[in-house]
Symmetry: C2
Subunit: 407 residues, 2 copies
């Protein structure tokens, strides 16, 4: 089916070229479509690699193999669109190994320096002949820009998603550029869907991994579209080291904080873009939880709210139904005291300390809910724990897409 | 809004009168509607009471007070429809205490022998004057039958739900009758929504509690409509003791097994009826999980599948999308081995041992999915753990009901 562009879409930003990163795309024709569906990104020798992956017990071979090689070094990334190669047994594993061997052979690098991701239909082995022809075509193709690469990794995405930032490390200006795909089967507790961040900064692989884990925790791990965790979710970060900075090796390295802030900003922007392309989304929802017993408890409560179909449909209906928020707090399995709980929308409290406000004025809340950007505030009144999570509303569009879409 | 009767509805069954149980209803007018909305059930002196309640951290005062008095004895049950009285602070608690006092005074019993439940909108204190007038009217009303009581406890329900059974204890025939309400905000991990089971059997309160806990575990705790746990969920069992049997006090009591089987059957029937009235439901889905590491692990995996919006929409679309079932198994957080996993629909395996079946014939599966009753089989291939859970599909009807319904 042809999906309409999300009403929450953002234009693709101007992203800098990253020294040491070459983007190419090709047609592998994994499905009967007339579009590029294989992305091959070549990385300069010595590029540091870090990654976070789905925690699904049924992860794809791509994910299993990626886990084995981070932190480490990378020379190439291959992304297949249209076929997830998940749940395909030894044939799926073999397909990935063959792609890795083909690329490693061509670039004269170790197999462990080639990363592969695939998303799309589950349970159909990746057709090896198409993959090999696609890789061969990509190796010979002219380089493309970020927008084309972002479009090529997408499947049910309705718009291309990218984000960039820069950071000074000493006197060296370093650039970061990231792309991401995903709109359904999006849930936290992993590195959501496929996201790739590239930088020319010099960063030790182990420290890059540490920074990526930390940045992931309050960005990709704080978004949800439908609470359904994919078998293929992956976020990878690559640092080519060509910016000329003194390599970052720990939080004590000069410039580490500035670089981390830029990395985190790119992760957050990419995570938000995935929510903005949430299947059927008509509103972008930010849920800020404060006063929880811990940050992790706040995150869980936030996600319980963000994953509640009753809360999500209420927002779709522009209904300030804070009773459903109370319900979602109550079911989260986290410490909460009904009589200390406060809930607000768009900066207006509807209930404080376990009771509806006597002078609650619903007019500004109703106005707020008519907009595309909705904010829900929840204060537990228990401690200092806080977290912000992001989701979208649940609409007829989600049902239409998922009761019809297949293969 | 006027809700259409669920296509999965069942006719109300013929239920026996239970000796010692008198049903009455009245108009408290909690909402601007022309229907009875207060149910008062009088119980013979000495009636044993057991109960299971929501685990929500934001439970209503009704639930808090009910918890304090089971196992125990009961003389009356009051059920308010249209107002949940949840999240209403001390005013909500006071309202329940006043209702309890009024009924206890009238029946000359202890306050702890009066149970109250309320469901409906959250966050509006139960109007005390309406409650008092309603209770007074109910105390004077003529007795009614089970169907009228089942209709009166309902809120967004589209049909009245009841189930019965009988069991021989020694030479005494004992009868059980139960009613239940609920269609949205239905999730496991508690005693789902409001359910009441009555019997004339003589059962020790502590043993009744033990049997109810056990029966709840694989009936009400194995259903889900939307994964959203209510703040008011309650299942109560009352045994008037007028059947003349020797009182059941433990599993060793003669007839205990027969009685338990009857109790469990009533709980299961009532639980299924709630799923059949799931908001927007068009299909009743049974998910049988085998080969898990434990029964509890099997239940969690089953509920992960049952709560997955992608699985539920696939079934709505009559799509044998077993890849989404793989996804839901993978995200459950329970032991699973991708390469031992098998998935089937309606008795036909689609995938065995982590791979699609080479000779998979989709025709009988497609035929099965066009029906109203869908069965999903999942075998983990790891151990002996098993569980069966029940849910419904996710349709445009759910969105329509919940993006519009309020107060």
């Amino acid at each position: 089916m042809d999906l309409e562009r999300s009403p929450l879409a953002r234009p693709f930003p101007a992203l800098p070229a990253i020294d040491g990163v070459t983007l190419r795309v090709a047609r592998a024709r994994y499905k009967t479509w007339d579009r590029c569906d294989l992305t091959l990104i070549e990385l300069a020798p010595g590029t540091a690699a870090a990654g976070v992956f789905t925690r699904s017990a049924c992860a794809s071979s791509e994910v299993e193999m990626g886990r084995e090689h981070v932190p480490g070094h990378a020379r190439a990334l291959v992304v297949n669109a249209g076929n997830s190669n998940a749940f395909t047994g030894h044939r799926g594993r073999e397909a990935v190994e063959r792609i890795v061997a083909q690329v490693a052979d061509s670039l004269a690098c170790a197999p462990g320096e080639v990363f592969v991701s695939s998303t799309g239909v589950i349970g159909v082995p990746l057709p090896l002949d198409k993959a090999r022809a696609g890789v061969a075509a990509a190796l010979k193709a002219d380089p493309c820009d970020w927008k084309v690469a972002a479009e090529t990794i997408g499947t049910t995405d309705t718009f291309a998603k990218g984000a960039g930032a820069s950071a000074m490390i000493g006197t060296a200006r370093t650039e970061l550029a990231g792309i991401v795909k995903g709109s359904g089967m999006i849930a936290p507790d992993m590195a959501t869907m496929l996201g790739y961040i590239f930088t020319d900064a010099a960063v030790d692989p182990a420290f890059l991994q540490e920074m990526l884990l930390r940045a992931n925790a309050d960005t990709f791990s704080c978004i949800t579209v439908d609470g359904d965790t994919s078998t293929s979710d992956t976020v990878l970060a690559f640092a080519t080291g060509l910016a000329g900075n003194e390599a970052l090796t720990s939080w004590d390295s000069p410039g580490a904080d500035a670089f981390y802030a830029a990395l985190q900003a790119v992760c957050r922007d990419l995570a938000h873009l995935v929510v903005r392309d949430g299947e059927g989304a008509s509103k972008f929802i930010e849920i800020a939880v404060t006063g929880a017993q811990s940050d992790e408890s706040a995150r869980r409560i936030g996600l319980s709210i963000a994953n509640s179909p009753l809360v999500k449909t209420a927002i779709a209906g522009e209904d300030a139904n804070w009773g459903r928020v109370v319900m979602a707090v109550g079911k989260a399995g986290e410490p909460a005291d009904r009589d200390r709980l406060s809930i607000g929308f768009g900066g207006t409290w509807a209930a404080r300390d376990g009771q509806p406000l006597a002078d609650y004025d619903e007019a500004p809340v109703a106005e707020h809910l008519r907009g595309q950007e909705v904010r829900i505030d929840v204060d537990l009144g228990l401690g200092d724990g806080r977290a912000t999570v992001w989701t979208c509303d649940l609409t007829h569009g989600y049902i239409a897409i998922n009761a019809d879409y297949r293969s």
